[in-house]
Amino acid sequence: MDTANLTEKHQSEIVFKQLKKFVEEIIGSDVIEEIGISEESVFTKNLEMDSIEIVSFAEKVKKKYGHEIDFISWISKMDFQELYNLSVGQVVDYIVYRNEN
């Protein structure tokens, strides 16, 4: 693995930790302990977040990373099925790699 990949992997880990912290602040660390969180976790299905909690999450991401990425614009382009299936890992990828898929 080259240095660039290592750096990106490290960045992904840092961003994941930050996003996990946001989710904990919104739904509670006790819930996270119970249901667990990984990059595969889907906000609605696995983390059981409802619409207003996803709004809170989006605002936290915007506040933290808004100067680097247009997170809200990205999430607003999603149709509801995409939003329903959005995972933590997709957000990590968008923040680190600007990967929109």
């Binding site: 996803i54 709004v55 329903y84």
Partner: protein, 248 residues
């Protein structure tokens, strides 16, 4: 933000824009109805203020004060706290009634009005739904909540939401408050709204009596029908944004 002894969840977008659009959601939903699409598009040009009504979303639940007068007072409190003196006002469903009530009672605070899928609770078309409140109603409501926010809920969330709605119905004055201020449409009939008004309804609306009434009795109103049903803000947000942008 603390208004009228209640904590309100308020969210602002594009705070530096010159003109402000305040958007009020409907009963039993929350500000997310606007957040993901309509508000983000309008925020490219306008300062957008979204808030959760009391007892909804992340705002505090109170024992009383769900009638239109109290909800208008909450709105005015928010405008005051944000130092806003005249705003464009958008209301969806019950939020539209709050917007209309505010325009009737405090016209000096409102510039243009946008009313989306708003019923007349006094015309018999909407009344049976709430009066027949029971488990069946609650189950229908939970389905419509998923549809209106377009996010399916887990069993745990459904239970939590079920408890919240049940609490609002059984332990607060909400159910009776919804039927206060029923003379609103009579006041509108007396031509008390002078604001330019945009009426947006769905082709499959169940509020067509209200749509036609408002179109007839608000002098400067235009009425448009877009594809969808009562959940049109999430079903057809592009149409809503297009209509609002042209109107403002």
């Amino acid at each position: 933000m603390r208004i009228n002894n209640n904590n309100f969840n308020i969210l602002e977008l594009n705070e530096n824009a010159a003109k402000t659009v305040v958007m009020i959601h409907g009963i039993f939903t929350n500000l997310s109805v606007y957040y993901f699409s309509i508000a983000q598009e309008l925020a490219k040009q306008y300062h957008i203020v979204l808030y959760d009504l009391k007892g909804h979303g992340l705002s505090e639940t109170s024992y009383s004060g769900y009638d239109l007068q109290s909800m208008s007072d909450d709105l005015l409190g928010i405008l005051h706290e944000l130092n806003l003196h005249k705003v464009h006002l958008t209301g969806y469903s019950y939020g539209g009634l709050i917007a209309l009530h505010t325009a009737v009672s405090y016209p000096e605070m409102i510039d243009k009005l946008i009313i989306i899928e708003t019923p007349n609770l006094n015309d018999g078309q909407s009344r049976p739904l709430l009066e027949g409140y029971n488990e069946r109603f609650l189950n229908q409501y939970l389905k419509s909540l998923s549809r209106s926010t377009c996010l399916m809920q887990s069993q745990r969330k459904i239970k939590k939401t079920h408890q919240q709605v049940q609490f609002l119905f059984e332990h607060t004055t909400l159910k009776t408050d919804l039927y206060r201020n029923l003379d609103l449409f009579d006041k509108i009939k007396e031509n008390s709204i002078e604001n330019e008004t945009l009426l947006l309804y769905a082709t499959q609306t169940e509020c067509n009596n209200a749509a036609e009434f408002l179109h007839q009795h608000i002098k400067k109103a235009s009425l448009h029908y877009g594809e969808g049903d009562h959940s049109i803000p999430v079903q057809n947000p592009k149409w809503i944004v297009d209509k609002i942008t042209k109107f403002l």
